[in-house]
Every structure is written in structure tokens, then in C-alpha cells.
């Protein structure tokens, strides 16, 4: 069973609807008790970093998530700010992140852009996986996903980068550290490609 963490942010129901259509058992988890049966975890998110961290702290699920992810090794997929929370810190906020991956979240540097590039990075862009199979099975070429962000995930280990995207320079649009996966884009809002990725996560 896949638990979709409901801490009051992100598109919980759109993710639940996709798993329902795929006939994959998933449930919305709103308390630590709901999480105990989870074999896999989806941590969604839309919003600012500090707001998301505050909501997760208030949800009463943070300790349980730490235990499931760090001690029990359950696969987890963070989406957008749900991914960014897995880092140690973010340029966007003052609060500490979950620290599950050795990474910072940085603001795109407008001064470093070679030509005028608008922020936020908003719309459909290509995601190029560095390895075949796994989360990107069937998405090896031509996959595009919806992005909506001004901050990006910068892992300190180059080996944690699972896919890259170009927005006036390449950055990590998907990372993996062991059982911990994060995607900057929104698979729940990315039509066939997003459905495929969520299906792949379920089958890992």
C-alpha cells in the first residue's frame, strides 16, 4: 500500500485518483497511525518552503516519516516542495529541512542566465534521465513534465542526480539517494508521462 502524505499541502486527491485508475492500492495518510501500513510513501507539495515544513511539523507525522524512510528504508517520492523539504536547507526559508539527502535548495540565479529567462520556471519541459529503467522506465526519451518553481534542488553528491532538465543551464529535476526519490516537477499534473512515472514508483 502506498501512503500519500496529507499534511495540508499539494495535490493529494489528484495522486490518489491516478493510483485508483491504475488499480494500485493507495491511501491518503493524515496521521502517524495511517502511515504504519505504508510500504511506499508519496510526499506531495505546492507552496513555500517554511510553510510546508511548518505544516508537516504540525501534522504529527514527521517522526513517523523519519522512522519509515531512514530506519525502515521504505521508498519515498517527494514532489516539488515535497522534494525540496528532503534537503538540509533552502534559500527560500529559514527553517531546517528534513535532511534526508545531503543537499541545499537554491534560487535560480538570474544574473548567471546567458539571456533573459523568466522566473518562475513555469510550464512543460524535457526531463532527461541519466539511467534507464526504474522510475523512468518507458520515459527514457521524449518525456515532458510540468514545472512550477523558482528554487532548485542541488545535491552535494553528483551521483544522486537521476535526471536533468535544462532551464538556461542544467539542474537536477530528479534525485535519488537509496530509497529516497525526489522530483521537482508535478507527475500528478503531467498527463501520460506523469501517470507512467507514478506507476513506475509503485512497481519499484
Amino acid at each position: 500500500m502506498i501512503a500519500i502524505v496529507n499534511y495540508g499541502l499539494g495535490n493529494i486527491h489528484a495522486i490518489a485518483n491516478i493510483y485508483k485508475r491504475l488499480n494500485i492500492p493507495a491511501r491518503i495518510a493524515s496521521s502517524a497511525e495511517d502511515l504504519t501500513q505504508a510500504q511506499k510513501i508519496v510526499l506531495p507539495g505546492v507552496g513555500a518552503f517554511d510553510w510546508a515544513m511548518t505544516r508537516l511539523d504540525q501534522s504529527g507525522m514527521r517522526e513517523c516519516l523519519d522512522d519509515l524512510v531512514l530506519c525502515k528504508g521504505r521508498p519515498v517520492l517527494g514532489i516539488c516542495v515535497g522534494m525540496q523539504m528532503m534537503a538540509k536547507r533552502s534559500d527560500e526559508g529559514r527553517l531546517e529541512g528534513l535532511g534526508w539527502i545531503d543537499a541545499d535548495v537554491r534560487r535560480f540565479d538570474e544574473d548567471s542566465f546567458a539571456h533573459k529567462t523568466r522566473l518562475p520556471h513555469m510550464g512543460w519541459n524535457d526531463v532527461v534521465p541519466r539511467k534507464d529503467g526504474g522510475l523512468f522506465r518507458g520515459l527514457e526519451s521524449g518525456a515532458r513534465f510540468y514545472f512550477l518553481h523558482s528554487y532548485y534542488f542541488a545535491p552535494s553528491q553528483e551521483g544522486d542526480v537521476l535526471a536533468i532538465t535544462d532551464y538556461n543551464g542544467s539542474y537536477a529535476s530528479c534525485v535519488r539517494s537509496g530509497n529516497i526519490f525526489g522530483v521537482q516537477f508535478h507527475p500528478e499534473k503531467s498527463h501520460q508521462w506523469g501517470i507512467q512515472l507514478l506507476n513506475n514508483f509503485a512497481e519499484l
Binding site: 499539494g10 489528484a14 518562475p120 512543460w124 499534473k189 498527463h191
Partner: protein, 260 residues
């Protein structure tokens, strides 16, 4: 490569979908959830849904409608209509909406833009500017309350101000072009585009995919939104929810960017 976005815009009135002409003469075109299901199948880039009587009737957003829309949408959703407070914006984002549009409230209470951006992040704050040509000199002017009130504000100056306050996207809604289907107002777009570094989406006037291609050719990566184009077919405006096929869209964008 980031792509230009081609975005259907749906208007909600009394719980049903309508399409207007120059912000008047609403014609019923169907049920919102049903339309979302059709647009899911057609894999649209994004969807904008505007509740056009909420502010004019001084009514709060219809959260149950928003919840149903957000759960049904398999594409990103921008909701607007009746949004006046940071708390309302937080509630709407919490329901699973990626972007919240504010219009009248951003004009009368610009601090709402900065307060909301701080809470939910700039990427989720969209300001819709309803713009009309006014006066003998034909200057562009922002209107509020679904086009009914003059504000004296110029669109380029206002767009620049709300960028400074932390908005994440600007939508230009050209009142004079609404429902007319004779092309976008490219002069208006150029004025606003040059004033900001935010993503920009344009609504009002698209009558064919040629108009969409023309907008992309002129401005590159931009949001091309349309109402009538995606809900009507033919000169008699028969209701038909439609969109481009993926192949047609890719070809249109490639050709337009090539010529840009």
C-alpha cells in the same frame, strides 16, 4: 526545452460554464467537471478557471467546486474569482490548486500579493489584469470587478509593481477582444512583456490556432490562453469542447518558434 503553453480558459457563472463577449452576453456552454474530463483526454497544457460573478456579487470562492476541479484535473489548474485574503489563497492551494489568480483584490490591496507570495510562494500567485482601451487617446487601462470599474492604472506600470511585490505570473485579459475571435492584441502584450521578467499569459481574442501561432512567433515562450476557440466551433458558435492534438500542437510550436 521549455515550451509555450496553450491554455483553455473556462468561465464559471451560477455553477455552470459560460462564454462571454467583451465581458457581457454570457452563453451557457456546459458543466465544469465534464469539461475538465474532456480536457484531460485532450492533454491540455494547463487550465484556467475563473468564477466571474464571485467578486461582482461580493461572494467568497466556491470551495466545493474548487476541490472537485482540483481532484479531477490531470493538468495544472489556475483558479480565480472572489479571492481577497491570504487565508483564502492558502485554503485554495491546500485543496490542490497549483495557482491562484487575483485581480480586483490585487488592485485595491497590493499588499495581498506580497503577503500571499510569502506564505504560498510566488510561483502560485497569478495576477489577472483585465485591460480595456479607454478615453479618446485609446490608452490601456486596468478595470476591476469583472471589467465594471475603472481604475486609472496603466497595465505596464501595474505589472511591474506586482512583480516587485512577488507575483509569479501575469495574465493579460483584453476586454475589448473577449469573445471576438479576431486575434490577440499584440501591442498590449508587447507593452506588458517588456515591463516584466515574469512568465506572461495572454487571454482575449484568439479565434484560430493561427492567432496562437502568431502570438508565439511574436513573443516566443509565452502562455496563449483562449476561451471561445476551445469551446465553440464554426460561425454559429456551436458548443464543442476541443483542443489541438499533440502532434498539431508540437508542429505549431516548432514552426512558430522557428519563425520567431
Amino acid at each position: 526545452m521549455l515550451r509555450p503553453r496553450i491554455i483553455p480558459c473556462l468561465l464559471v457563472k451560477n455553477g455552470g460554464l459560460v462564454k462571454t463577449v467583451r465581458f457581457g452576453s454570457p452563453k451557457y456552454v456546459g458543466d465544469p467537471i465534464n469539461a475538465v474530463r474532456i480536457f484531460n483526454e485532450k492533454e491540455v497544457d494547463e487550465l484556467i478557471v475563473l468564477d466571474i460573478d464571485a467578486t461582482a456579487q461580493n461572494r467568497a470562492p466556491n470551495y466545493s467546486l474548487i476541490r472537485n476541479l482540483a481532484a479531477e484535473c490531470r493538468m495544472p489548474l489556475c483558479y480565480g474569482g472572489g479571492v481577497k485574503t491570504v487565508e483564502q489563497i492558502q485554503s485554495i492551494v491546500s485543496l490542490g490548486v497549483e495557482k491562484v489568480a487575483i485581480s480586483s483584490a490585487a488592485i485595491h490591496d497590493p499588499k495581498l500579493v506580497s503577503d500571499a507570495a510569502e506564505r504560498v510562494g510566488s510561483q502560485s500567485i497569478v495576477v489577472v489584469m483585465d485591460v480595456k482601451k479607454s478615453g479618446v487617446d485609446g490608452r490601456y487601462e486596468l478595470r476591476s470587478h469583472n471589467g465594471s470599474r475603472a481604475t486609472g492604472l496603466g497595465p505596464a506600470e501595474f505589472a511591474s509593481e506586482i512583480e516587485r511585490l512577488g507575483a509569479g505570473e501575469v495574465v493579460i485579459n483584453a476586454i475589448d477582444r473577449d469573445g471576438v475571435m479576431k486575434g490577440y492584441d499584440l501591442d498590449l502584450v508587447a507593452q506588458v512583456r517588456d515591463a516584466i521578467s515574469l512568465p506572461l499569459t495572454v487571454l482575449g481574442g484568439a479565434g484560430s490556432l493561427k492567432d496562437v501561432a502568431g502570438l508565439i512567433r511574436a513573443f516566443g515562450i509565452i502562455g496563449a490562453a483562449a476561451g471561445s476557440l476551445f469551446v465553440f466551433k464554426g460561425v454559429y458558435r456551436a458548443v464543442l469542447i476541443r483542443y489541438t492534438s499533440s502532434e498539431e500542437k508540437d508542429a505549431l510550436i516548432a514552426a512558430a518558434l522557428e519563425a520567431a
